[in-house]
Symmetry: C2
């Protein structure tokens, strides 16, 4: 048994991504594929060269179709159960890069229904509120409003349920048990839910009345949903959705991913500079017991959460990260300086993000899709006819 | 084991309604309750005195609230998987009587999603078409358009899914197994579906923002759904829905209910006079081997499908049904005459029904509730904002 768990509803332990590639049956992103992307995009994102986006399904097919003049659209999502932290933001930054480089549409699903169904203490009303709150963080990243469609499942419930029916008819409970590990004590909304998460993978095909390729950038824990989508959708005459999958930004403590439920181990987009400073200063590092020993022996970046934050998010310049690495291992860079460097970078990022997040409140309507379902007005209209 | 099956998806065998009362835990409708209804309605419907509507849940509570000035609404439904036959019509006639006598609203659900999920060979598009086709038969019965709200689940999918979520969160797969006998090979839409069928039992409470009593007239096979509704809704702060439950109009052959899948044993509302004549003439009766023996020994109405059609639908006058019974058992009424009498009554009913059904095409919009969800126009509106 591996000493980690990665499901759409639980991620814990020391994750072995090579093992995940084997178990999930996903393809690693190799240098050849990175070169192929670079031919199209000219530049290449460090999240690819650093193998943070490390695996995919059918990415070559997506590029084939693109080069044949049949462009894809992007679909990604967020489970709105609380505030946004940097671990959420990371794949969205890459998604924006894809949108910009390929000039394609992004469909962004806020799965308030899922979060309500899987979180015993979360009300539907609160999940729905988080959808709108979290949308501000998405918009703050600068997605092109003309190419970006953000929707909460509750707001698009009619479209989703109607189209989920055909998907649901093709999935048995046995399959759900095998894919997600749900058992007989699962609630029936949880059991049905995956069919809702599959609909956005065909939404452009539904709208256009022809098959449109779809690629889903997502953290690797969501792969089981899309494995099912890929199994079912061809039976309904649609393309399999492709995917490009990333690792988790780790916790500031030892082991595990950054988690909203462990507030002191995660940096939230609403955190003040002081809070960021405190959290990073308390972070688990690869430093030695004293400055003296560290100067002699050097630090260990391979286990250091502060180094991982530099590497995975805040120090994307290759020369700069090499210097951090060699100064650390050489004993020249002590943890205090390295942390201060990270704190400044995080706070610079958050300052801008928080400004953009405020501005997002004024432009959120430019992004949102919402079915206008007001039962009272439907009834009123019907009553006028029948009188 | 009983030699009959009654579930929402299968009804077969010789149904023992006393056993159903025991097994389902429903209350028989006794003479005291009938008298109580008559005090309010002045007249009493033969479907009650003849115990065709034979059982209920919480009907006394519904009448208590009504008499306290807190009126109920009616909720019933139809699974649109084909043409309407007389067995479907029977409970709707009684539902109309309740609407007229109590002057209350009726919410009529067309469960096209259910029929699609449970019928392997039915497409969603065809189930949806049957919703509109079947609505014509409902409207033909003369329901008051000002008090009647007919909707297909597909047309009201957003409202239903959003509100089904809270219900679904309270129901486990274990409960579904125990209540409906579904197993691991059930599709996940089937497993989820009952939560959709519960929403209309609270729809008036949702609209009015206060608890409104609801009573569901239905054939007894639907009781498992509403047993679950009654279990879950109080946990969400709603009333338990009450119910008033009827028997099935039998098949024209020996045993079983009138079934749309056995076309020669059921009278459809679209049948021509000639077809009706042929079907009734081929019906299973309680007659003797020859006219001579029948004149000597009399017939047996207790096993006769023709007599049951008189008793349950077409000869509701008490004096007249007594004469049929005594002339039959006395050997004076032969099957030919009795069948001709029934044929004339059925054809008279259908002639009027078919006329009203044609007229219903012009007024269907006075009854229908429909969410106006046109994704393309939602997108267009959003695009105008983002440009």
């Amino acid at each position: 048994m591996p000493n980690f768990i990665v499901t759409p509803w639980e991620v814990s332990g020391e994750i072995d991504y090579d093992k995940i590639i084997q178990e999930f049956g996903i393809e690693p992103i190799d240098d050849k594929l990175i070169s192929r992307i670079k031919e199209i995009t000219s530049e290449i994102h460090p999240f690819l060269t650093r193998k943070i986006f490390f695996a995919h399904r059918d990415l070559n097919w997506i590029l084939d179709e693109y080069q044949k003049g049949n462009p894809f659209y992007l679909y990604t999502g967020r489970g709105p159960s609380g505030d946004i932290h940097l671990g959420h933001i990371m794949p969205w930054i890459f998604t924006k890069w894809l949108q910009d480089k390929f000039n394609v549409e992004l469909w962004f699903q806020l799965t308030d229904d899922e979060k309500f169904l899987f979180n015993q203490s979360l009300s539907l009303e609160d999940a729905y509120k988080y959808s709108y709150d979290n949308a501000l963080d998405i918009i703050a990243l600068g997605f092109d409003p003309k190419n970006t469609f953000i929707f909460s499942d509750i707001d698009l419930a009619g479209t989703l349920y109607r189209n989920a029916l055909k998907i649901a008819k093709k999935i048995t409970f046995s399959t759900i048990k095998a894919t997600f590990g749900l058992n007989n004590s699962a609630n029936i909304g949880q059991i049905f839910y995956t069919s809702i998460q599959t609909v956005p993978a065909i939404i452009k095909s539904l709208i256009e009345g022809r098959n449109v390729p779809c690629i889903i950038p997502h953290a690797v824990d969501q792969d089981p949903h899309f494995r099912l989508s890929r199994d079912v959708l061809p039976k309904l005459g649609y393309y399999k959705p492709a995917s490009i999958q990333c690792m988790f930004l780790p916790s500031l403590q030892q082991g595990g991913k950054m988690s909203a439920s462990m507030k002191h181990t995660a940096i939230f987009t609403k955190d003040t500079p002081d809070i960021v400073k405190k959290k990073v200063n308390n972070a688990f590092t690869g430093g030695q017991a004293s400055a003296k020993i560290q100067r002699e022996l050097g630090g260990n970046p391979s286990i250091c959460s502060v180094y991982k934050y530099h590497f995975m998010f805040f120090t994307l310049d290759n020369d700069e990260i090499k210097i951090i690495h060699s100064r650390c291992t050489g004993g020249d860079l002590l943890c205090g300086e390295c942390k201060n460097n990270l704190i400044q970078k995080i706070n610079k990022f958050l300052l801008k993000h928080q400004e953009q997040r405020e501005k997002a409140k004024d432009i959120i309507e430019n992004y949102l899709l919402k079915e206008k379902v007001d039962l009272k007005s439907i009834i009123k209209e019907k009553m006028e006819k029948s009188n």
